[in-house]
C-alpha cells in the first residue's frame, strides 16, 4: 500500500465510529496487537519526552526505507503510536520528511486529546520526523 492508501484506510476505519469511546476501543485493540518491543530497547534515548505516559520509539533502515517499532506503558497511547508507525513504516525518509501528518487532524485525534496528551502526540510525530531526518539506526 502507498502512504496515501494507508492514511485513507485509517481515516476510513476511524469514520466507522461515531463515539469517541468506540474510537478508543479501536485504539486499544491496535495497542494490544502491537508487536512486542524488547525490554532492553526501552532506553532513555528512545523515550519520547512530552508524554504523560512513557513511549519508546525505534527505527531501522532497510533498502532505503524506515521501519518503526514502538511501545508504551499506556495502551491508548500505544494504540496511537501503533497507528502512526503502521502508516509510516516502510516509507522512505523523503516521503516522511515531505508529509504534513495532516491525516491525524482529519481523524480528529489531536482535537480529542487533552492539551497535555495532544502535546504527547505532537512529540511522537516530531520524533518520527526527526528519525526520518537523521536516519538514526
Amino acid at each position: 500500500m502507498s502512504l496515501e492508501e494507508k492514511k485513507q484506510q485509517i481515516i476510513d476505519d476511524f469514520s466507522i465510529y461515531d463515539e469517541w469511546l468506540d474510537k478508543y476501543e479501536y485504539l486499544i485493540e491496535l495497542g494490544k496487537n502491537l508487536d512486542a518491543f524488547p525490554e532492553e530497547k526501552k532506553t532513555e534515548e528512545r523515550l519520547i519526552k512530552g508524554c504523560q505516559s512513557r513511549v519508546w520509539l525505534d527505527s531501522e533502515e532497510r533498502d532505503g526505507r524506515l521501519y518503526f517499532t514502538a511501545d508504551s506503558d499506556a495502551i491508548i497511547t500505544k494504540g496511537i503510536i501503533s497507528l502512526l508507525i503502521s502508516v509510516y513504516s516502510g516509507c522512505t525518509k523523503e516521503e516522511i520528511a515531505a508529509d504534513d501528518f495532516g491525516f491525524v487532524a482529519e481523524i480528529g485525534l489531536k482535537d480529542n486529546l487533552s492539551p497535555t496528551r495532544a502535546n504527547g502526540l505532537v512529540s511522537m510525530i516530531e520524533r518520527i520526523k526527526e528519525l526520518a531526518g537523521q536516519g538514526r539506526q
Binding site: 463515539e19 469517541w20 469511546l21 478508543y24 476501543e25 486499544i28 504523560q52 505516559s53 512513557r54 506503558d73 499506556a74 495502551i75 491508548i76 497511547t77 486529546l113 487533552s114 496528551r117
Partner: protein, 405 residues
C-alpha cells in the same frame, strides 16, 4: 441539601461530550459558586481600582473589599490578628515566601529542614532551593503502609540543627488528615516552628490556627471555591516580624531612599506590588459557602456516605490498590492503581464518559517513588458531589477497566 448547593455552581450543569459533567478533580481546583462569581463581577464593575494608594472613591471601595477579605480569613482561621494574614497568589507562593524569608533569617550552613515524603512539590522544592543556597540538609519523614505519617519518628528526625518542619495538613494524594496538632507539639518541645501546607486541609477541616498552634498555615483560594490567583499565608507575628521582606516593590515600604529604605508594617511588608484586588474579595463568599456547607447536616451526611461507599468499592475490588487507607482520618479523596490498566488510559476513557479525574504523579514524585508507582488515578469529591455521581463513577470505572484489561 446537596441539590441546592449544586444549583449555586453554574459550571456543574455543563455537558461534556454530550454527557453530564461529573467533576471529581476538586483537589486540583474546585468550581466557583455564583456568589463568588458575583463578588468578582462586582469588584470589576464597581470597585476596580488599585488598593491602598489613591484617595478617590473607587480606590476606597476596592480597598474595603480587599481588607474585608482579610477580616474574613482571620475569623475563618481564628488567627489572633489581621496583621498575621498575608495575601499571596496561592499556597505555592506562600511556601516560597516562608522558605525564602525565614530561610534567609534563620537557616544557615549545616542546618536542617524536615518535610514528609508525602508532600506536594510545592512543599518540597522551595525548601530544596533554600537548603541548596544555605548548604543545609533536607530530611524526610516517612509514612506507614496505610498512608499515615510516621509521627513516632518525628522526634528522632529532629536535631539541634533543625530549623523548621514543613508538613501538609492533608496530602493531595493520600487524602488522610495528618495529626498536625501532635506534630506541632513535638516540634515546639524542641523550639522548632512548623509550617502547615493547608492547600487540601483548609477545604476539608475546620482550621483553628491557635488550637493547632502552628507557626505558619498556607492555602490557595482556588481549591476553596474562590478565584484563582488568591492565597493566604498565616504566620505568627513573632516570625513574620523577624523575617526580612520577600519581594521588594510598591506598598511594602514605609519610606524609600537610596541611603535607606524602611519597610511597611505587617501585613503590607509581604505584599509588594499591586495585589489581586479583584480576586481576594471572592474569598469572603467562598468562606461563607464553606461554613454553610459544613453546617448543613444533609451535605455532611452525603459526604460521609460517598467516602464510605467509594472506600468500600475500591478496597473490596482485588484489581484495585487504594493508597491512603486509614479510614478513621480519610477525606473523600481517593488515589489508586488498577492492575493491568494504566492510570492515563483510565482517565482518558472516563473523560469521554463525562468524568473529570486526575491521573499521573499529582505533583508528588517522591511519594510516587515511595509507593513504587509511576502514577495514580485520583477522584476527589466536593460538597456539591452526590452519592449518585459516586455510583456513576464506580460503574464507569468498572466499564473502563473491562475495556483495558
Amino acid at each position: 441539601m446537596v441539590e441546592e448547593i449544586r444549583k449555586q455552581f453554574p459550571a456543574l450543569s455543563a455537558q461534556v461530550y454530550g454527557k453530564p459533567l461529573v467533576y471529581l478533580d476538586n483537589a486540583a481546583s474546585s468550581q466557583r459558586p455564583q456568589a463568588v462569581i458575583d463578588a468578582w463581577t462586582q469588584s470589576v464593575l464597581a470597585g476596580n481600582a488599585n488598593i491602598h494608594r489613591a484617595v478617590h472613591y473607587l480606590a476606597g471601595v476596592a480597598t474595603e473589599a480587599y481588607e474585608g477579605a482579610r477580616d474574613s480569613v482571620q475569623a475563618f482561621l481564628n488567627a489572633p490578628s489581621r496583621e498575621e494574614i498575608v495575601f499571596t497568589s496561592g499556597a505555592t507562593a506562600a511556601v516560597n515566601l516562608v522558605a525564602s524569608s525565614f530561610g534567609e533569617a534563620f537557616i544557615g550552613e549545616g542546618d536542617e529542614v524536615l518535610v514528609s515524603v508525602a508532600e506536594h512539590h510545592s512543599n518540597i522544592v522551595p525548601w530544596q532551593l533554600v537548603c541548596e543556597r544555605k548548604n543545609a540538609t533536607l530530611k524526610v519523614l516517612d509514612i506507614h503502609e496505610n498512608g499515615t505519617l510516621a509521627v513516632e519518628d518525628v522526634e528522632k528526625l529532629l536535631s539541634q540543627r533543625t530549623k523548621i518542619v514543613a508538613i501538609s495538613h492533608i496530602s493531595n494524594v493520600l487524602g488522610l488528615v495528618n495529626p498536625v496538632r501532635e506534630i506541632v507539639a513535638v516540634c515546639h518541645k524542641h523550639g522548632i516552628p512548623v509550617l502547615v501546607d493547608g492547600a487540601q486541609g483548609i477545604v476539608h477541616e475546620q482550621v483553628d490556627v491557635q488550637a493547632l498552634d502552628c507557626d505558619f498555615y498556607v492555602f490557595s483560594g482556588h481549591k476553596l471555591y474562590a478565584a484563582t490567583g488568591t492565597g493566604v499565608l498565616y504566620g505568627k507575628r513573632r516570625w513574620l516580624d523577624a523575617m526580612p521582606p520577600y519581594m521588594g516593590g510598591g506598598e511594602m515600604i514605609k519610606s524609600v531612599s537610596f541611603a535607606k529604605t524602611t519597610y511597611a508594617p505587617l501585613p503590607e511588608k509581604f505584599e509588594a506590588g499591586t495585589q489581586n484586588f479583584n480576586g481576594v474579595p471572592t474569598l469572603v463568599p467562598a468562606i461563607r459557602f464553606v461554613q454553610a456547607s459544613r453546617a448543613d447536616a444533609d451535605v455532611q451526611k452525603e459526604q460521609a456516605a460517598i467516602t464510605e461507599y467509594i472506600y468500600t468499592k475500591l478496597t473490596e475490588d482485588e484489581r484495585i490498590t487504594l493508597y491512603g487507607t486509614a479510614l478513621e482520618c480519610k477525606i473523600p479523596l481517593f488515589s489508586f492503581a488498577v492492575k493491568g490498566a494504566h492510570h492515563e488510559d483510565l482517565a482518558l476513557i472516563m473523560d469521554k464518559m463525562g468524568i473529570a479525574l486526575r491521573s499521573g504523579q499529582m505533583c508528588a514524585e517522591p511519594l510516587m517513588d515511595r509507593l513504587g508507582v509511576t502514577g495514580l488515578l485520583r477522584a476527589s469529591f466536593a460538597p456539591y458531589n452526590t452519592l449518585a455521581e459516586a455510583e456513576y463513577f464506580i460503574k464507569c470505572l468498572n466499564r473502563a477497566i473491562d475495556m483495558l484489561v
